[in-house]
C-alpha cells in the first residue's frame, strides 16, 4: 500500500527572499501583492507563490520552467536547503520544517540524496572518494562504503575510473560520479537539480537513458528539475511547469502536450514532436463491436502507431495496456490529426534522414 502512496507533499509554500520576509508574507498571501510590487516597493524577491504539489513515491516528477521561475528554489525546500517563508513540506511523513538541526542532518543523510547542475564534486578526492562521501557522512563502515561505491560506480559505467580525479574526467563522466554518489546513499528520494543541463546534447540523452534504466531497478522518488521540455517529457512520469514562482500546470507529459493550460505552456509545447511524445494510448476511445484486425500497445508513440496502421493498410486498431488487454480503439484519422497539429515534424524528418548511412560514399 505504501508503495504507491504520496512521498512528498508540498502545501501552499511561499518563499520570499530578503532580510524581512515575515513582514510581507501576509500582504502576498492574503493581500494579493504581486512579485513586481514586492520588489519595487519593499526590495524583497518573491521566489515561490502558493506552490502545492504531491509527488508520488517511486515515480519521476519533473519540475520545469525557465530560469528564475523558482524551480531550483522549490527543490531545495524538499531537503530544506532553503527554508519556506510559509507553507508545509511533508516528506515521507516527516514535517521537514519542524526538524531541529540534528534531526535535519539525519533526515538529509537517510531520506534524500542530491545531484547538482555543476556536479559539486570534491576536487581533491578521486572518483571512489567522492562516491563514498555520503556514506562517510553517515558513519557507515569503510568496507561497506567501498562495496556500495564500487557497485554504483560499475552501475553508472565508470568501472576502471575509480582512482581518477574529477578534473581528469569529462562533464558527462563527472555527472555520473555525482549520480553514483547520490545513489550509493540509498535514500528513497533523489533530488536532481538541472543535473544534465550542463552537458552536451548527446551526452545528455545518454545520461537520461542511464537514469531511466537505473530507475527501473531502484524505483526511487525522483524530483528532476530542468528547463528543457524535451528532457521533461522524455523522463517524467509527471511534469509540473513553473512560471514566476507559481505552478501553472501539472500532469502527465501527454496531458501537458495535448492540452496546455496557459499561453506560456503552449509556447513551450509548440516545438514538441508529438509523434514521439504522445503515446497512442492517450487517443484510445472505448468502442463496442468485433475486435480490430490489428492490436498495438498503448505505450507506442503516435508516429510509430501511424506507421503500423499505414503498413497494415488499416484505418483503425485496438489499443492494449501493459498486460495486453484491449482498452480501446484508435483511428488513423485521429492519429494523423493529432500529429498534424505538431510543428516539430520537419525536425523529426531531418533527424531520420541523417540516420541513413551515406552508402554511395562507402567503398
Amino acid at each position: 500500500m505504501l508503495e504507491s502512496s504520496t512521498s512528498i507533499e508540498i502545501r501552499n509554500v511561499y518563499k520570499i527572499f530578503g532580510p524581512h520576509p515575515e513582514r510581507y508574507i501576509e500582504a502576498v498571501r492574503d493581500g494579493g501583492m504581486c512579485k513586481g510590487d514586492l520588489l519595487e516597493k519593499h526590495n524583497h524577491v518573491l521566489g515561490l507563490k502558493n506552490v502545492s504539489l504531491d509527488i508520488e513515491a517511486g515515480h519521476i516528477q519533473v519540475i520545469m520552467g525557465l530560469s528564475g521561475s523558482g524551480k531550483s528554489t522549490l527543490i531545495r525546500h524538499i531537503n530544506r536547503l532553503i527554508e519556506p517563508t510559509a507553507g508545509e513540506v511533508i516528506v515521507e511523513g516527516t514535517d521537514v520544517r519542524a526538524l531541529k538541526p540534528k534531526a535535519l542532518r539525519n533526515f538529509r543523510r537517510a531520506s534524500t540524496a542530491m545531484v547538482f547542475q555543476k556536479f559539486a564534486l570534491l576536487p581533491h578526492r578521486t572518483v571512489i572518494g567522492n562516491v563514498v562521501f555520503g556514506l562517510e557522512i553517515r558513519g557507515v563502515s569503510r568496507a561497506e562504503q567501498l562495496e556500495e561505491a564500487h557497485h554504483w560506480i560499475n552501475r553508472v559505467g565508470l568501472a576502471g575510473f575509480e582512482d581518477k580525479y574529477p578534473s581528469q574526467l569529462s562533464g558527462g563522466m563527472q555527472q555520473r560520479v555525482g549520480l553514483a554518489r547520490a545513489l550509493s546513499n540509498d535514500a528513497p528520494i533523489l533530488l536532481m537539480d538541472e543535473a544534465f543541463s550542463a552537458l552536451d546534447p548527446l551526452i545528455r540523452v545518454d545520461m537520461q537513458a542511464i537514469l531511466l534504466d537505473l530507475q527501473e531497478e531502484v524505483r526511487k522518488t525522483i524530483v528532476f528539475i530542468t528547463h528543457d521540455l524535451d528532457e521533461a517529457l522524455r523522463i517524467g512520469d509527471r511534469v509540473a511547469i513553473m512560471q514566476d514562482g507559481e505552478l501553472v500546470q501539472q500532469g502527465k507529459p501527454e496531458d501537458i502536450v495535448l492540452s496546455p493550460a496557459t499561453p506560456y505552456v503552449e509556447d513551450f509545447v509548440r516545438q514538441v514532436n508529438r509523434g514521439r511524445v504522445v503515446k497512442v494510448g492517450a487517443l484510445a476511445r472505448s468502442v463496442s463491436g468485433p475486435p480490430a484486425a490489428l492490436r498495438i500497445s498503448g505505450s507506442l508513440p503516435l508516429a510509430d502507431a501511424a506507421l503500423r496502421l499505414v503498413e497494415a493498410r488499416l484505418s483503425f486498431a485496438d489499443v492494449t495496456d501493459a498486460n495486453g488487454a484491449v482498452v480501446g480503439r484508435v483511428g488513423l484519422e485521429d492519429v494523423v490529426r493529432t500529429l498534424a497539429r505538431s510543428a516539430g515534424e520537419e525536425g523529426a524528418l531531418a533527424g531520420m534522414a541523417s540516420e541513413e548511412p551515406p552508402a554511395r560514399l562507402v567503398g
Partner: protein
Amino acid sequence: MMSFDGFPVMDADTLTALKKAIDGGFRAFTREFGATVEDFFLPLRTFLIFVERLLVTTPWPLVLLVIVGLVYLASRSWRLVAGAAAALLVIGYFGMWEDTMRTLAMIVVATLISVAIGIPLGILMAWSGRARAVMLPVLDVMQTMPSFVYLIPVVMLLGIGKVPGLIAVVIYAAPPIIRLTNLGIRLVDADVLEAADAFGASTWQKLRKVQLPLALPNIMAGINQTIMAALSMVVVASMIGVQGLGQPVLKAIANQYFTLGVFNGFAIVGIAIIFDRTSQAFGRRLQKHREAEHA
C-alpha cells in the same frame, strides 16, 4: 582667532602624567604578575630548549641526514635534496653550524606555535563575520607595529631571553597563516559546501572533509609565509638574547665586521631557501589533483 601655525597639543603636564600613569600601571602589573606570566610560558621555554639541545648536541652528520631526509620526504626532489645538503655543508664548513641549529630550533618552534594558534583563529574568522571584524585590525597591528615597540612590554614582563624572543617572532609570524586560513576557507566553492549540506554533513564534517582540504593550498602558502616572516625576525630576536645566527650579525653591525655579517646573512638566506622550496614543493604535492590533466 585660531592659529594654524602649530598643532593644538595636549597640555604638556597632562601628557606627562598620562604616560607616567600608564607606565606605572604596567610596572605594577609586571611586579604583581610577572612571575605568573613567566610560569605560564615555562612549558614553551622547556620545549624550545629541548629542540635546541637536540639539534646542537646530536652529531652533525645525523642532523644533516635527518634534515635532508625530511626535505626529500616533503618534496621528492633530488635536486632540492642536493641543494639543501650543499648549503648545510658550506654553513658547517664556515663555522656556523651551531648558530644555524639554534636559529633552526627557534624557527621550527615559532612556526609550530604560529600554526597551532593561527589555523584555529583563521577558521574562526572564516566562520564568524564578527570574529573577522575584530581580528583584522589586530592582525594589521601585529604586522605593521615596529617589533621593538612590543618588545618593550614583553621584556618588562619576561626579561631578556629565549621566550620573549619567541613571542616577538610569533607575533610577527602568525598573521600570514591566520589570514590565509581565513581566505582559503572563504574561497571554498559554495556549490561544494551546499552538496555537503545536502548530504547532511555536520559543521565539523564540513570543516574536516571539505573546507580544510580545499583551503589547503592557501593554508600551505600561509605556512610558507609564516616561516619566512619568522626568519626575518631572527636578528631582531637576537637583540633580546636569542642565540643563533642573529647575534653574529648584531656584532658585525656594531663593529663593522663586513664579512662576518655577510656570512651569517647568507646562512639565514640559505635556510630560508631550503624552507621555502621544501614547503612549496610539499604544498604542490598535496594537491596533485590540480595538476592532473584532462584525460
